[in-house]
Structures are given as C-alpha cells and as structure tokens.
C-alpha cells in the first residue's frame, strides 16, 4: 500500500521580529546629501588625508560617473538615487579611549553582545568597532603591537602607515573595478586595516563589528588586510543593523594580500536587516571582496554565512598568482521572505599547481531567490591547476527559487576541474521522522538545515560556528508550516 502524504503547507511566514532592531540616538556631524567632487574633498579634508588619497578618490569618482549599475545579477530593486544619500556622518567627539566613548554607543554594542572592555579580554578577541563609518574604540592594540601586528581603523592607518596604504590600496580591487567598488573608492569613510609582519602567526582571531546607524547613511567601508611572508591571520567579520523602513545601501570593499607562504582566513557572519516579510526596508549589500595569493604557497580562505540583507551581491574571490597557492570559498547563503541573494566566488588560476575549492550551500525559504554565481578560470600559464566545486541548494516550500550559474574557463589542458551540484527540497518525511523521535518541528528543521551546512560550519572558528547556527534557526523560524 502506498500512503500519500500531503504537500507541506508553507503559507506560514516568519513571525520573528528582527532581534537587533533598535536605533541609537547620536547627534551626527553629517555632510549634506548628494555626491560631487566637493563632497569628496569634504570627506578627505575632514579626515585630514594625504594628497595621494584625495587624488585617488577623485580618479575613482570620475571613473564612476562613466560607469553603469551592473545588471547581470539575478536581483531586482528600484533604482538608487545616489544624490539622496549622505556620504559622511560621524559622532562629533573623537574619542581616544574606551572611557571617552559615548555610553549610548557602548550600550548598543552591549545589546549586540559585542565583546568589549572585559568581555573583549575574556573572549580573547580584539575589536575594532566601526560605528557609523568612524572607529570608536580599538582594543588589544598593545599586545598585537608587541608582535608587530598592525590592527587599526583605516583612517588611523592612513596617518600612521601611509606608505603601506599607498602601496596596497587598490592593488587587488582597482578603483575602476566595478560600479560599486568605484563608488566606494571615491567616498569610503573608514574601515579596518591589518598588517601581519613576516613570519608572525597572529595569536588571536581579529574581529570587527560593523553596524549601520544614522538614517540614510550609506556605508562604504574599506578593509585592507596584508599578510607578509609566512604570516598567518584569522579575521572575523560580523554584522547586524537596526530596523529601518528605508533601504540602506552598503557597498564595502575588502582587499586581502597574501605574500609568499602566508595564510589568511577570512570569516563572515552577515546578519543585516533583511526587510520585513513583504520585503519592505532591508539592506542592499553590494560588496566587492577579493584576495590575492601573491606569493608562492600562499593561501586565502573565505568562509561566509549570509542570512541578512534584502539584497546580497557578493563574490569573495581569489587570484591565485603564486605557484602552489590555494584558494577556498565556503558559503552558506540563506534567503527567506522576499530576500534576494546573488553570491558566489571567482577563482582565477595564474600560477602553477594552484588549487581551489568551492563549497556553496544555498537555502531558500519563503519567496526568497538564491543564486550561486561562480567563475573558475584557468589561465594558460597555470600548469596542473585543480578546482573542485560543489553547489548544493535546499528549498523550503514551493514559492522560493534556487539558481546555479557556474562559469568555467580552462585555457590549460593540464587542469583538473570538477563541478558537482544538487538541489533538494526539505522533506516532510524528514521532518516527520525527527518528530516521531520526539523532536519539535522547529528543532527538526534546524537539525536538517545544520546538517546540510555542516561542511561550511566546520570551517568557521568555534564561537562563530555556534553564532551561525543560532542565526540560521532565527532566520528560518516559521518557514515550514
């Protein structure tokens, strides 16, 4: 006999309010809305930048004016009015230590569970906290300083280490790379800078918490991370944002440089406000992240867990220049309700015996649309290059979508390139099986989803993995009725 089970009902949409939806009231010292060369000069002047940086910004701006919004991604949104955005806002007082930091800001971080002060010490994490585009506190600087590690805000690096900025800024993501990267290059206000000297293994995981705050303020962070020869660093990036009705643009640029024998591990848990169940509000996350394995035997590993944002447009990539260099991309991308994500990676093989691994896990629920877009390019000089790609999609309900768009370009016939893909639906029979063993429906869904993402979670630092699992269960709450 063949008993039929009914199709799972998926009408029930998430009732979970965005947990971190609160706004800090801080008097902002802002530029008027809009963008022109004067605004860029204003930003550069406010930040007391050297001439080369202003010129670089202006070059980027002039290039940006000639560029068009990329339209190839599988995402839809109304046109953005770039003249309606405030490009500079900062808390008025410039605090020099944690004691000087506005208590309101500290309270906000506390609500977010950011480990600062003693908590930072206990957690063993150095925090370079970005608040409304300007860094308000940096901890653990001394300890890191003794090892020669530089970990500070981007603005500080511009003043303290202008030679490193001039040498490396834009060397991985040029100012004219793409529309959003050009915009970022013109107007970025702050971000993080990190330099690990030769042979140093950074003793702690470096962490930055981003938070978007002032109304209508686009955030344009710039992160530059350099691992000198035989250095190692693990960098964590995690984000949350307060609830908003207006869409907020976020166009960050992250550049990583790994010299000979160096290794960079870059982990992200992204939880920006995704908009309400009808897609109202929510962050537009248009980010350019790229790492260059410049030296032989260097390694860059990207791990990301993307649960937030109304729209995600993001392709953390590796340029495998050095011989025997290794690039990795491990990703979990979740879309629920009206969220859209077009994310993936690019692995550009230039050197001999270069190796790349791509593991992408896409989860779609509600009316979410999830696209994996990835490029594997083996250039003519890349003898014996290897790539392995695995793309898995998990669908919850019948109103969401999963799309896989792999591009493979091989120009050297010694290359070995493998691609595996699967799409599956979260099964009512799997859920019932768990329930029959005593687990609640929510626990069953979490268990199944976490099993699906296991290969990626394994790559995250321990405490991040725990956070990521929690985030996933919150993001998918109520998505199976």
């Amino acid at each position: 006999m063949t008993p039929k089970t009914q199709e799972p009902s998926v009408e029930k949409v998430t009732s979970e309010e965005y947990k971190y939806g609160f706004v800090t009231d801080i008097e902002a010292d802002s530029a008027p809305p809009g963008l022109n060369e004067d605004i860029i000069r204003f930003i550069s002047h406010k930040k007391k930048e050297p001439q080369f940086l202003l010129e670089w910004r202006l070059k980027a701006y002039r290039q940006w004016l000639k560029m068009k919004t990329p339209e190839w991604a599988y995402v839809q949104y109304p046109p953005i009015d770039y003249q309606d955005i405030i490009y500079y806002s900062a808390p008025k007082a410039g605090p020099k230590s944690l004691d000087e930091v506005d208590p309101e800001i500290l309270k906000t971080f506390e609500k977010l569970g950011v480990p600062m002060e003693e908590r930072a010490m206990l957690a063993g994490v150095a925090v370079d906290a970005v608040f409304d585009s300007v860094s308000v506190g940096t901890t653990f600087k001394k300890k890191l300083g003794e090892m020669g590690v530089i970990f500070c805000s981007f603005s500080e690096a511009v003043h303290e280490h202008p030679e490193l900025i001039e040498q490396y800024l834009g060397s991985v993501v040029p100012y004219n790379d793409n529309f959003y990267a050009a915009l970022n290059s013109a107007v970025f206000t702050d971000g993080s800078f990190c330099y690990i000297p030769k042979g140093v293994r950074c003793p702690m995981e470096l962490s930055t918490y981003f938070r978007i705050n002032a109304a209508k303020t686009g955030q344009f962070e710039r992160t530059l991370l350099i691992a000198d020869e035989d250095a190692y660093v693990s960098y964590l990036e995690g984000c949350t944002a307060p609830m908003r009705d207006e869409n907020q643009l976020h166009a960050a640029v992250v550049e990583l440089v790994a010299l000979k024998g160096a290794e960079i591990k870059y982990s992200t848990v992204q939880n920006w406000y995704p908009g309400d169940k009808d897609g109202k509000g929510g962050i537009y996350n248009f980010v350019t992240k790229r790492g260059a394995c410049r030296g032989d035997s260097s390694k860059i590993s990207w791990t990301q867990v993307e649960t937030g944002s109304a729209i995600t447009w993001k392709y953390p990539s590796c340029i495998l220049q050095g011989d025997n260099s290794v690039g990795e991309f491990y990703s979990v991308a979740v879309v629920n309700n009206m969220q859209q994500a077009d994310t993936g990676t690019k692995m550009i093989h230039l050197g001999k015996n270069t190796k790349s691994t791509i593991v992408s896990k896409g989860i779609s629920a509600g009316k979410g649309q999830n696209t994996y877009r990835g490029l594997v390019r083996i250039q003519p000089a890349a003898e014996n290059a290897h790539n392995y790609t695995q793309c898995d999609s998990l669908l919850m309900g019948d109103k969401c979508g999963a799309h896989t768009v792999p591009y493979i370009e091989v120009k050297n016939n010694t290359a070995k390139v493998g691609h595996e893909a699967s799409t599956s639906k979260i099964g009512e029979d799997q859920i019932f099986y768990c329930q029959q063993r005593g687990l609640s429906k929510e626990d069953a869904v979490n268990l199944i989803v976490n099993g699906f993402c296991k290969e990626v979670f394994r790559k995250l630092p321990m405490e991040f993995a725990v956070e990521a699992q929690k985030l996933l269960s919150v993001s998918l709450e109520g998505s199976v009725g």
Partner: protein, 251 residues
C-alpha cells in the same frame, strides 16, 4: 494500555480505515497482517501522527491519554515509537547527535535531566552490542548510505535507546535477509517486557517465527476481519488471504 475504538481515516477522498477496534494490554505483542492495500501501514502512520491523513471517526488512547489530539512529537514523548518501513536519511546529521537530541527531548518532556555526551555515549554503546552493530555507524550521518539491513537495525537501536511504551514495527522485515531478520527480531525480543507493548505490521508470517505474537489480526478493507493466536499466521501463510476476504488476493 493502547485502546483503539472505531478508528476511521482517509487520505484525500479515499477512505482507508473503516472502523478499527483493538486493545493491546501491557506486555503484549500484536501482529497486524493483511493483503496489500488493506490499511496496515495507514494504521501505523495514523497512530504515530504522520501528516496527510484525516481522522474521520473513532478514538485512540494510550494509558488513558487521547493520542489523536497530540502532535507527532508529543505522541513520541508519550511513548509511541514507529520503526519506519523506509527509514529517512538526514545528510550531515551525526547519528549519535540525532539520537541524543531525541532522547533528551523526551527526557526533558518528562522533567528528567538531560544526558551529557559522555553518559549518552556509554548508554548507546551498551545498546549497540546485542544488535551486532558496528560502533562506526554512530559516526555516520543518520541513515545516509546505510544498507537496507543497517537502516532497520538503526531503527531498533533508536527504539532500544528511547525505550517506548508502544513499539510499532511497520513492515520491518521488508528487504531483510534472514541473518539481518534474526538480529532485528532478537533486538525486539530483548525489548519485550511487562510494561512494553508491540504492534507488528507485516505482510509475511516469516517475521512472526522470530517475534512470536500474542495475537494476530487480519486487516482487510480497513477493518479487522479475524483475530486469533499465533497459529493464525501459519494458517494465513498456507492459505493466503483469499479465504478470509472472499477475494482472489494471495499473500
């Protein structure tokens, strides 16, 4: 213990159960036999709360508790265990982790303390031995890549760990070779006790050579049409179901 009165159920517009009456006392093993399409598996599913069935009449109580009003997980927590005919694979979820989560969910619902990983591992290893299961199975993902025999043994292992009041075996013998069948039957027999009852749904008499029932019921057309002792199974094996149903149905 388990009392079923006039149970009727349908799937979409098709009536499958047409008034089942059945009482299973503590410690008893009852076998449900019947031709294909008679409603055997439906009965097992309805008792465990699988979605997709509509109850159109009757009642079911377990120790006086109304089972039909409970969610599937609450039925499990009340002591109903279904050994699936087709155990489900859950990729990436560690078998031990799954079983520990299940046991702790049940313990928690009873107000008992949850077991930690070390205590649990000790418990599960002890339950593993009589089933002749390799400890490596604990490290694998739930049922993923398991052979048919391994899946069924895993079901019995889960039952041994969760210690239900009522174990429902849904065609547990299907797809098993004779050696695996013996191991599974031994596992079930070891769990028999004065406070635990079993409902064994099977198409063939073979399983009942090893799990000897107190009563055998023949289900046809969604009703129990004959009840007898263990010898009824042998009679069915010999004569088929046709002499009972009046149809040309052969086992």
């Amino acid at each position: 213990m388990l009392i079923i009165k006039g149970l009727k159920a349908r799937v979409e517009d098709k009536q499958i159960l047409n008034g089942i009456d059945l009482t299973i006392n503590p410690g008893e093993v009852h076998a449900i036999m019947g031709p294909n399409g008679s409603g055997k598996s439906t009965l097992a599913h309805v008792l465990s709360g699988r979605p997709g069935y509509e109850i159109t009449g009757g009642e079911v109580t377990l120790d006086g508790k109304d089972l039909l009003s409970l969610s599937p997980e609450d039925r499990a927590r009340a002591g109903v265990f279904l050994a699936f005919q087709y155990p489900v694979e859950i990729p990436g979820v560690n078998n031990t982790y799954f079983l520990k989560a299940a046991l702790n969910a049940i313990r928690k619902s009873k107000g008992e303390e949850e077991l930690d990983a070390i205590d649990f591992l000790e418990l599960v290893k002890a339950k593993l031995k009589p089933l002749k299961m390799d400890e490596l199975m604990l490290q694998r993902a739930v049922n993923e890549g398991f052979s048919g025999g391994e899946k069924k043994k895993n079901e019995i292992l889960q039952m041994a760990v969760l210690e239900p009041k009522l174990g429902i075996l849904d065609e547990t013998d299907s797809g098993l070779d004779i050696d695996a069948l013996k191991v599974v039957a031994d596992g079930v027999n070891a769990l028999r006790g004065k406070n635990r009852s079993f409902l064994v749904v099977t198409h063939y008499q073979r399983l009942l050579d090893y799990i000897v029932p107190d009563q055998v019921h023949v289900l046809a057309g969604g009703k129990i049409i004959k009840t007898g002792g263990k010898e009824l199974a042998l009679e069915l094996e010999e004569k088929g179901y046709g002499w009972l149903t009046g149809e040309k149905v052969k086992a």
